[in-house]
């Protein structure tokens, strides 16, 4: 690579086409007209900057758009799973529930929300949908039940949760039946915490993140709580709930458990990139496109999925 010819296969920059790699010191049009060639250092800088930019852009694309696709699929599977369990009356009712297990269907018609809630509030678990905090009772049981939801990534199920008006209805279906909650109000930092529910009453607290102003959409920085009170009778609470959850499952917690997976995925990205460059020269451009693109997308997807787990669970 010490030669003066360094041409990575970056499609946007390829304006020329040729049968042979030898054709290409890629002609790049410069400002003052005329054909110019980059110095080797310059070319390296350009490609490096573009590669980094590409990866960053990919991450953003994944976080905002593609993760939603993944969540939609997870939701579909979770819904099917839960529906079957509800029909068979085998849905989890309490006690120790494995994280990631679908536990409830949550509907808030006034904001067009209908989603499957999974157990656990780690950033990874919440890639499948809103998460139910493991140290609280399930919805419909006496006490406070807390559900976290994302507001940006993975379909942003709770993006509009803060628009829930007092009096709005939230319906939750669990293995113990269907429960109707009435929203008490939206709580932001500094607002007083309501008194704990009395014996035999239940409360649902939706937690998500929100930001202010221009960066609100992409960079929510604080938490928002929606309190809702159960109407009707509570159901029994099976014992055995965890009494505390790790830091990563609290509001704005991050899942560092994904670091190892992320490292492995990044290695795959590197390996795949090198392999593709190699095939580009040895095999041919179109063959590489055909075979390489799915591979590249797959490893990038995997890497991105684990990378965004490092972001707060409410985002």
């Amino acid at each position: 690579m010490t030669t003066h010819v360094v041409i990575p296969p970056a499609p946007p920059q390829s304006v020329a086409s040729g049968k042979h790699a030898a054709d290409r010191p890629a002609p790049i049009r410069g400002g003052a007209g005329g054909r110019r060639r980059l110095t080797p250092t310059g070319a390296m800088v350009v490609w490096a900057a573009l590669a980094v930019g590409f990866l960053a852009a990919w991450l953003v694309l994944f976080a905002v758009v593609l993760s939603g696709v993944q969540e939609a699929r997870s939701q579909k599977l979770a819904y099917d799973h839960l529906r079957e369990q509800l029909a068979a009356a085998t849905a989890p009712l309490g006690g120790a529930i494995a994280p990631g297990t679908p536990v409830a269907v949550l509907d808030a018609p006034s904001i067009g929300l209908s989603t499957v809630v999974v157990e656990g509030t780690s950033a990874l678990a919440m890639q499948d949908g809103p998460g139910h905090r493991r140290d609280t009772v399930l919805p419909g049981q006496a006490g406070v039940s807390v559900v976290y939801g994302r507001s940006v990534m993975f379909g942003a199920p709770f993006a509009r949760a803060s628009q829930l008006a007092p009096g709005a209805t939230i319906t939750v279906t669990t293995g113990q039946g269907e429960f109707r909650y009435v929203v008490d109000g939206v709580r932001r930092p500094g607002d007083p915490v309501p008194a704990p529910p009395g014996a035999g009453t239940g409360r649902l607290v939706l937690v998500t993140s929100a930001g202010e102003g221009w960066r609100g959409t992409l960079a929510p920085t604080t938490t928002v709580f929606v309190d809702a009170t159960l109407t009707g009778a509570t159901q029994a609470t099976p014992a055995g709930r965890p009494v505390t959850v790790p830091e990563g499952e609290r509001p704005m917690g991050r899942d560092t458990a994904s670091l190892l997976a992320l490292m492995l995925w990044l290695q795959l990205v590197v390996v795949a990139s090198i392999a593709l460059v190699w095939t580009w020269y040895r095999w041919g451009r179109w063959q590489t496109w055909l075979v390489g693109l799915p591979i590249l997308l797959a490893v990038l997807w995997g890497a991105a999925e684990n990378a965004v787990a490092l972001l707060p669970n409410l985002v």
Binding site: T136, T221, L311, V315
Partner: protein
């Protein structure tokens, strides 16, 4: 969100428990702090009941009153309210006619034959003419254990004393009052005169009784006196030559005796009848001709009725039974002449623990362990199950080490224990003191006159001798077992025992029982406390290590140098007396020889069993061979010795102070410090301090408790007690009982239950008294006045930690906190109803006068979590990760920018 809400709930519950407690104190704060009545010896100065009655025996002769005997009897009863099953209450009297023809067992039916006894009976109903007849006492509602006490017959004379009773009604003077009609065929042939006194059960069922109970007796009665069953509480007590007497009457509740049926809702009466003899009226004017004795009948009747006693006062009844004068015997306690002389003592039973099984709903908060706590918990716990808002609490008795192990493996949620667990628990767990009580070495011993001995003194060395099976118990062992051949046969022959306890016959007939102490076989902190005490005593330790005592008695070699303290006492002796086994006198042991001395020891796995045995002197040594088919081995079995005869009793046992106080067991004074020369023989207690369990001796032990901060624990310094002058007055059997409850991992409801229980026990549960929820006898209240304020405060804080379930164990010293302002929660959302301070508590607290909560709202119940009550929604910042996505966009822009700039600036011409 989560944390504060839990804290508020917890505090509310703790507060409710405190309120609940406050309700139990109707201005009884005077009793706080003073040491409770710990032992029966420390009987209250003023009896609960006292009555003086003049009784007379006045015959009606030729229409004129002839008074032959008149006495003024004063009867006192120690306690009459909130009685619990089998509780021993002291009855003393003076002025009664001295008893003659005395029988050993005053509870047996045969004891009714005594002349001039004081008859004590438990009767259902009240002695008042202002209540309905069905709720009034009568002889029909008075309990007796055998039918012979309710039936009498006579062939000759045809007019026995009861037929010429001047106070009897005409119907009672017929030849067969009370006889069922038709007379049951199975009841032998009809004698010329018979009297049936049926028993009317609590359910209204009538048990006619009859000879040998042929016509039906209550399930709790037995046809004949039994030596294995619990004796009846009916007492034919002996009045001494000076007219005074004493009896410990044990009341029975409806669970123990359903036919009698005394309970918190069914009032009962203790009836004391000083037998004076029948007031006779042979003339019987106005009665039908058949009921008027004539001729020789009249002479016989007059002679028979006017008899004044066959035996001299104080004389024992000889073997030939039947010589007694019926007219003055206890057999006719129901006759009108005797019944009218009764002294009725109204008694009320406490609410029984049994109410919990019927009223409790939902799962209970179960606490395993400590048997020494049972009397306190059976008073505290009904308080929780009678309160519908509270979580019911259950105390499941096990040995403390077992409870600790179960808690360590998370098989149970809470344990009562008296030691901190070795190595602590995996989960954060509070070790909160709930009671100060202890073990008692109880005894049932009759002195050389056959009277109750009540001042027993024991040294740790004597306890070690009993535990190590160093007394040979039977002569065969003494002869053949080389190691024990020079030891006294039993403790009554031990010079050390004789020196300390003069007045007890040396060489008692109950020798087997006198060579052991009825102890506990399972792992127990009681054994640990007892062996700690023995181990600390230099004399006892030296003796265990092989030094003979001053009289030459040596330790059983199987126990030589036994390491102490220990949780469970091993049965190590292995000697089988061949001569005895080969002789065939005990076929069970001939057929299946086993070591003998462990059979003598025969410990029990439960302290309550020992207490029962001590109350009724049921010797447990399993040395009696019972063959269902004599001469064959089929079904043969070693049985316990069984009940000891009155006047010849000798038993020692290991009990709890709570049991000793409730059942009226005598507790030995234990040696503390010794100033006498330790190697020398002694002939009296000089130079040795003996301390009986009393309020003040427990109080002194409490002063000595050493505090450990990590883990928090209070320990009794046995070395100080046995060697330091400051420990001289401290009772060495003192034990602190703790509740070990994890502060993480409990279900919310259970955590609430345990927290409420701890909060209650820390305050209101420490008020001494007889009532429901109070601290019964045998326990030293954990109060500031008793120097135990720190223990109660710690338990209050532990209650908050248990309620919070946040995994923290409160430190010994409360952190300095903002004074507890009972902050009412702002309650922004009316929809959610209750708040931390208005949680619906119970019907109990709603009746409580509001100011009563103040004494319990002490600063000690505060914790830092109080402050979090009026919480605000926290601002949880996502931190730098929150701006990751815009940051990434920035990176994209930067990359493009960099690439662009480079493209523009760095180029070489073609």
């Amino acid at each position: 969100m989560k944390g504060p809400s839990r804290t508020v709930t917890g505090l509310a519950l703790v507060a409710s428990a405190l309120l609940l407690g406050a309700w139990t104190v109707p201005g009884a704060s005077a009793s706080v702090g003073s040491a409770g009545v710990v032992t029966p010896q420390a009987a209250p100065a003023s009896p609960a009941f006292s009555k003086t009655l003049t009784v007379a025996r006045t015959h009606l002769v030729d229409g004129k009153d002839v008074t032959v005997d008149q006495r003024t009897v004063t009867l006192k009863v120690s306690v009459t309210t909130d009685l619990r099953d089998r509780q021993g209450i002291d009855v003393t009297w003076s002025g009664a006619h001295p008893t003659g023809g005395i029988l050993a067992d005053p509870h047996s039916g045969a004891a009714a034959q005594q002349e001039y006894p004081m008859v004590l009976l438990q009767c259902r109903g009240v002695d008042s003419t202002s209540v309905a007849a069905s709720k009034r006492i009568s002889p029909e509602t008075c309990w007796t254990g055998t039918p012979v006490e309710r039936y009498t017959s006579s062939y000759s004379p045809a007019f026995p004393a009861w037929r010429v009773d001047r106070y009897a009604t005409a119907a009672e003077r017929t030849h067969n009052p009370g006889t069922p009609n038709p007379r049951p065929a199975q009841c032998f042939s009809e004698p010329p005169a018979e009297r049936w006194l049926p028993f009317v059960g609590a359910d209204g069922k009538v048990y006619p009784g009859g000879p040998l109970g042929c016509a039906g007796i209550p399930a709790e009665a037995s046809k004949l006196d039994s030596t294995t069953a619990l004796p009846s509480n009916t007492t034919y007590a002996v009045t001494g030559l000076d007219g005074t007497g004493f009896a410990r009457f044990d009341v029975r509740d409806a669970i123990n005796n359903g036919s009698l049926g005394c309970s918190a809702t069914v009032p009962c009466t203790l009836v004391a009848i000083p037998i004076m003899g029948i007031a006779c009226d042979v003339t019987a004017s106005g009665l039908p001709a058949a009921d008027v004795p004539t001729g020789t009948d009249a002479t016989d009747a007059s002679t028979e009725c006017m008899k004044t006693g066959h035996f001299k006062p104080g004389a024992l009844i000889p073997a030939a039974v039947g010589d007694n004068d019926h007219a003055v015997s206890g057999e006719l306690w129901w006759s009108a002449s005797n019944w009218r002389n009764r002294i009725s003592v109204p008694i009320t039973m406490a609410t029984s623990l049994n109410v919990c099984s019927t009223t409790a709903t939902g799962s209970s908060a179960d606490i395993y362990g400590s048997e020494v706590l049972i009397q306190a918990t059976s008073s505290w716990i009904p308080k929780f199950c009678l309160d519908t808002a509270a979580v019911p609490v259950k105390h499941i008795q096990t040995g403390e080490p077992q409870a600790r192990n179960l808690l360590g493996s998370s098989s149970i949620e809470a344990a009562f224990t008296s030691q901190a667990r070795d190595g602590g628990y995996a989960k954060p767990t509070v070790h909160a003191p709930v009671a100060v009580t202890g073990f008692a070495v109880t005894y049932t011993i009759d002195d050389e006159h056959g009277d109750r001995y009540d001042k027993l003194k024991l040294t740790p060395r004597l306890l070690a001798k009993l535990l190590t099976q160093s007394y040979p118990a039977i002569p065969v062992i003494q002869q053949d077992y080389q190691a024990l051949s020079s030891n006294p046969l039993d403790i009554s022959l031990d010079p050390e025992f004789i020196a300390l306890n003069p007045g007890i016959k040396t060489g008692v007939s109950a020798g087997i029982s006198a060579s052991t102490i009825y102890s506990i076989s399972s792992d127990s902190d009681v054994v640990y406390a007892l062996t700690s005490y023995i181990n600390a005593d230099p004399e006892a330790r030296a003796w265990l290590d092989g030094t003979p005592d001053p009289w030459g008695m040596t330790v059983n070699p199987n126990y030589l140098k036994i390491p102490l303290p220990t949780n469970s006492w091993p049965l190590l002796d292995s000697f089988e007396p061949k001569a005895l086994y080969d002789s065939g006198t005990n076929p069970c042991l001939t057929d299946a020889p086993v070591p003998y001395l462990p059979l003598v020891a025969s410990p029990s796995s439960r302290l309550s069993t020992i207490s029962l045995a001590m109350q009724y002197s049921l010797a447990n040594s399993q040395v009696v061979c019972v063959q269902p088919f004599p001469g064959t081995t089929v079904g043969e079995k070693l049985n316990p010795l069984g009940r000891q005869s009155g006047g010849f009793r000798f038993m020692l046992g290991l009990s709890s102070l709570g049991d000793a106080a409730r059942f009226g067991l005598d507790s030995a004074a234990l040696q503390t410090t010794v100033t006498a020369s330790s190697g020398a023989k002694f002939t009296d207690a000089t130079g040795r301090t003996f301390v009986a369990p009393t309020g003040s001796s427990l109080r002194k032990a409490a002063d000595l408790l050493t505090t450990k901060t990590s883990p928090v624990d209070w320990q009794l310094p046995y070395d100080t007690i046995v060697s330091d002058p400051t420990g001289a007055g401290a009772y060495p059997g003192t034990m602190v009982v703790y509740a070990d409850v994890p502060t993480t991992g409990l279900a919310a409801r259970d955590a609430r239950g345990y927290a409420a229980f701890l909060a209650y026990v820390a305050r209101a549960g420490q008020l001494a008294g007889q009532g429901l929820g109070k601290l019964p006898g045998g326990f030293l209240p954990m109060t500031k006045a008793n120097g135990l304020g720190a223990l109660a405060d710690y338990t209050s804080r532990a209650a908050v930690a248990v309620s919070d379930q946040s995994g923290t164990v409160p430190p010994l010293v409360a952190p300095a906190v903002v004074p507890p302002t009972p902050i009412p929660t702002p309650t922004p959302s009316p929809a959610t109803g209750s708040s931390g301070t208005t949680t619906p508590v119970s019907t109990a607290s709603s009746t409580a006068p509001t100011p009563s909560a103040s004494p319990t709202a002490s600063p000690s119940s505060t914790s830092p979590s109080t402050i979090a009550v009026a919480a605000k929604t926290p601002a949880i910042d996502a931190g730098i990760a929150g701006v990751a996505l815009p940051g990434l966009l920035g990176v994209v822009a930067l990359g493009l920018l960099l690439a662009g700039i480079t493209l523009l600036t760095s180029r070489e011409s073609a």
